[in-house]
């Protein structure tokens, strides 16, 4: 483990918050995309059958 010295909190918190925000954004993007795709697919399948 690298030694961050007395600024460990600032560095780790920055990376923590930054990565958490990025991760949240990526997750939200993928989830919304999957939801939209599923909704569209089920709808298209239904209208094909019906």
């Amino acid at each position: 483990m690298i030694d961050l010295g007395r600024y460990a909190f600032a560095v780790l918190a920055s990376y923590g918050i930054g990565l958490a925000l990025l991760g949240g954004l990526v997750w939200h993007t993928l989830a919304a995309n999957a939801r939209a795709r599923r909704a569209l697919e089920t709808h298209e399948r239904r209208s094909d059958n019906g």
Partner: protein, 241 residues
């Protein structure tokens, strides 16, 4: 074959679908590589280990501004040529920009606390970013408030144009209003020569990574919007039939 062909939603879906894996791979390599490499850089003799925050802060701040510019361009294309994909891309970009602004503000505060001895200072750059964040919020709120998608695209487009002018005005007004703590160019690319190579290359990699990450997310989000729009159109057709 012109650039405008990509404005066709079907064509856009095809091309973006083919592009996505590559762009996403580049984004992962750039972001993870840049941040990981940055995290492993040696401490700066003045800033200590806080120099590692730069690799998050600078790319995020850069993207926060560039995304607004991209939204401005997309809004202009929508207003002038009425390509739906363009309007949807502007809509898709706004939340990414807001998150980037938030990251820049949060990492800036965390860096400022040990370095300047304060979490927050009403310094021109910090204040400008706060104002930029407010503009992003207003833009997103206006999109979500209007139901008719074309009206929403028009109104947010106009807001983006006016907002850009006033964001720029605020930037210079704020400069007039307070002299800052924030170092001018020592952290920016233009004067990269003032930064040692040890920090410069990972920073470049992280910046490329963030750019590609934005592109990836933008493509996915735009595809989401197109699908949503298509579903809404199908439903509307059914209820009419």
């Amino acid at each position: 074959m012109s650039l405008w062909e990509y404005a066709n939603p079907v064509r856009f879906m095809q091309v973006s679908g083919r592009m996505l894996p590559w762009v996403a791979a580049g984004a992962v390599i750039g972001t993870v590589g840049g941040l990981g490499w940055g995290f492993l850089t040696p401490d700066d003799f003045r800033q200590g280990s806080t120099v590692k925050i730069v690799f998050l802060h600078v790319p995020a701040a850069m993207m926060a501004i560039n995304i607004w510019v991209m939204m401005l361009v997309a809004s202009l294309i929508w207003i002038i040529r009425r390509h739906h994909v363009s309007a949807l891309a502007a809509k898709a970009a706004a939340p990414i920009g807001a998150v980037m602004t938030l990251i820049a503000l949060a990492t800036g505060a965390l860096w400022g606390q040990p370095m300047w001895g304060t979490w927050w200072e009403w310094d021109p750059r910090l204040t400008s970013f706060l104002i930029l964040f407010l503009f992003y919020l207003g833009y997103i709120a206006l999109w979500s408030a209007i139901e008719d998608p074309d009206s929403a695209a028009d109104l947010t487009g106009v807001l983006c144009l006016v907002g850009s002018v006033f964001a720029l005005l605020s930037r210079y007004a704020v400069l007039f209003w307070s002299q800052g703590l924030h170092q001018g160019a020592s952290l920016s690319v233009q004067s990269g020569e003032r930064m040692s190579h040890v920090y410069r290359y990972p920073l470049y990699l992280a910046m490329i990574g963030f750019g590609l990450l934005f592109l990836t997310l933008l493509l996915i989000r735009t595809r989401t919007e197109i699908r949503k729009r298509r579903l809404a159109a199908l439903l509307a057709r059914e209820t009419r039939a």
